[in-house]
């Protein structure tokens, strides 16, 4: 029996997100999404593409942290302008870590507060969220599942578009938006409830439905039976050790 931690379980579950995507750019922002994408590329969907997080596409994921002599296996130049070429063509699935997410799947990394002119807390700005969300598939990772992240109303600044019919422009349909999964320290969710309601997919061991619902600011769709998130396999754990040789993931859940 292999030893593993909660973050290992979350990464291995999240690695399934790109399973059926075929040949797309897998982008994971932050340690957990990046390791999930990396694990998927080496073990589940070997057609995925990935960058070195700088300016090159690589034919195998670059281990996180100090390289210690490892040379990235470059396959193509991929500077920022070319990332946009890829994004706008739609062949990408990103997993990102928003500060706020609402019931529509609208997400925010820009600012917190009711007054946009004078934010209570200024964060990054919208970055590439608007473009990502209207062009390609997106999933979310949340290290600390709480009502601060999963807010009751709309997020304070809608940086990425969600399944909110009131915000659709003329001629557009919700079918053109593709939000896939949310992985947290408590559970996995998707948007396959009735009318794209957020649905509970699996619970990590020891977590109850009530606990998840209480930590979420909006009503979740709860299926009759909710499975437990799968254990990582020994093979997955061995690959993770190789992809994260310095165990940076140990502190990723905060």
């Amino acid at each position: 029996m292999s030893e593993f931690t909660l973050v290992d379980r979350v990464i291995c579950a999240a690695a399934q997100a790109w399973r059926d995507d075929g040949e797309v750019l897998a982008t994971g922002i932050g340690i957990v999404p990046r390791l999930a994408a990396s694990l998927c590329m080496v073990a589940i969907n070997t057609d995925l593409m990935m960058t070195d997080s700088e300016a090159w596409l690589v034919s195998e994921p670059v281990p996180v942290g100090p390289r210690e002599g490892y040379q990235p296996k470059r396959e193509s130049w991929m500077g920022f302008s070319r990332i946009f070429d890829n994004v706008w063509g739609g062949k990408r699935h990103a997993m990102v870590g928003p500060t706020q997410i609402d019931r529509f799947g609208q997400a925010n990394i820009s600012m917190i507060g009711a007054d946009y002119q004078k934010p209570k807390s200024m964060m990054l700005g919208v970055r590439g969220f608007p473009g990502n969300s209207i062009n390609h598939a997106n999933s979310f990772f949340v290290p600390q599942h709480s009502t601060k992240v999963f807010v009751a109303g709309e997020v304070d600044m809608v940086a990425s578009v969600g399944y909110n019919p009131e915000r659709l422009a003329r001629g557009w349909s919700l079918d053109e938006i593709d939000i896939r999964f949310i992985f947290t320290n408590l559970c996995a969710m998707d948007f396959r409830g009735p009318d794209r309601q957020v649905r509970l997919v699996s619970l990590h061991p020891g977590v109850s439905v009530t606990q998840v619902q209480e930590a979420t600011g909006f009503a979740l769709h709860i299926p009759d039976s909710v499975p437990t998130t799968a254990d990582p396999t020994p093979e997955q754990l061995a690959l993770l050790a190789r992809l994260d040789p310095h165990n940076l993931r140990a502190s990723a859940l905060g």
Partner: protein, 292 residues
């Protein structure tokens, strides 16, 4: 034959209060910091700054130079939240046009192409449209849909940093990423480029050197030779960004009067003195390139 060499002070005298200034680079990477420091030493004010922002934006905000900021993010990456930009935003004093990274690129591209807008799906359904009523939707003549009409972001001035340049304004960037520097150059009426090395024009005749030139010299108005002029940002492959210095800079924002102390030590001196105060050129030359 034109000789476009000038000093950083010459660049600033060509700028006026209220101008729209684009700054090249990306976050903590290849920022024309020596030119930014020269603006900080000058009385220039009320600027509209367009940038993929890092400490360039933070410092200009801290010094009260920015009236309006056009941005998608301001970040030092390994220090995600830029402290002086945050202070400026949270004080409510900053006008902003907050847009997607790709929209910023399209705005520069539109200005470079001399068209009023470029249609895109980027921004649809988001608060980028609600917070920027100046960004309009446009009905397509080819389908039944509305599209975002990203307006041209025309610049009065672009400030860029290149690895090397000649006196005619042929500029070379050998780092792995050009970022959007070519578009900044083309979107601006005047483009001023600081460079680590000033070379003879014959330099570009050698090997593949000319392959690393991304805009024509007609887009370059002035060339300023400032070795290590991107510091504390990086200029790969010549030097990485200065983690220790950025930490000191970010820490200063937590102290009362911290900006004044930082500026006293690192801005209100010559560039030569600056390089001594940040540890000397040998230390800067050895700064490791970032690894992510």
């Amino acid at each position: 034959m034109k000789n476009k060499q000038m000093s950083a002070a010459d660049v600033v005298t060509q700028m006026k209060d209220g101008m729209t200034v684009g700054i090249g680079g990306w976050g903590p990477r290849r920022k024309p910091m020596a030119l930014v420091r020269e603006i900080l030493r000058s009385p220039l004010k009320d600027l509209t700054v367009v940038a993929y922002g890092g400490a360039d934006v933070g410092m200009l905000c801290a010094a009260g130079k920015v009236k309006k900021l056009v941005f998608a993010f301001v970040s030092l990456d390994f220090i995600p939240l830029e402290p002086y930009f945050r202070q400026a935003r949270q004080s409510g004093a900053l006008d902003v046009m907050e847009i997607d990274e790709g929209l910023l690129m399209l705005g520069l591209k539109a200005a470079a192409m001399r068209v009023p807008f470029i249609p895109t799906r980027v921004g649809l359904g988001t608060d980028v449209l609600r917070q920027n009523p100046g960004i309009k939707l446009v009905g397509s003549p080819y389908d039944g849909k509305d599209w975002v009409a990203m307006p041209a972001l025309a610049l009065d001035v672009a400030l860029l940093h290149a690895d090397r340049a000649d006196a005619r304004g042929v500029c070379q960037v050998k780092g792995p990423d050009l970022y959007m520097d070519d578009l900044f150059a083309r979107a601006a009426r005047s483009t001023f480029v600081s460079c680590d090395e000033l070379v003879e024009s014959s330099f570009f005749e050698q090997g593949d050197e000319a392959r690393h030139v991304f805009w024509e010299r007609a887009e370059t108005t002035g060339v300023v030779h400032v070795p290590f002029g991107a510091h504390p940002s990086s200029c790969a492959p010549l030097y990485g960004f200065d983690v220790r210095h950025f930490k000191e800079y970010a820490a200063s924002a937590k102290e009362p009067g911290g900006w004044q102390q930082y500026a006293e030590r690192y801005i209100h001196c010559s560039e030569q003195e600056y390089l001594v105060r940040v540890g000397g050129i040998d230390a800067v030359r050895k700064l490791p390139l970032p690894v992510f």
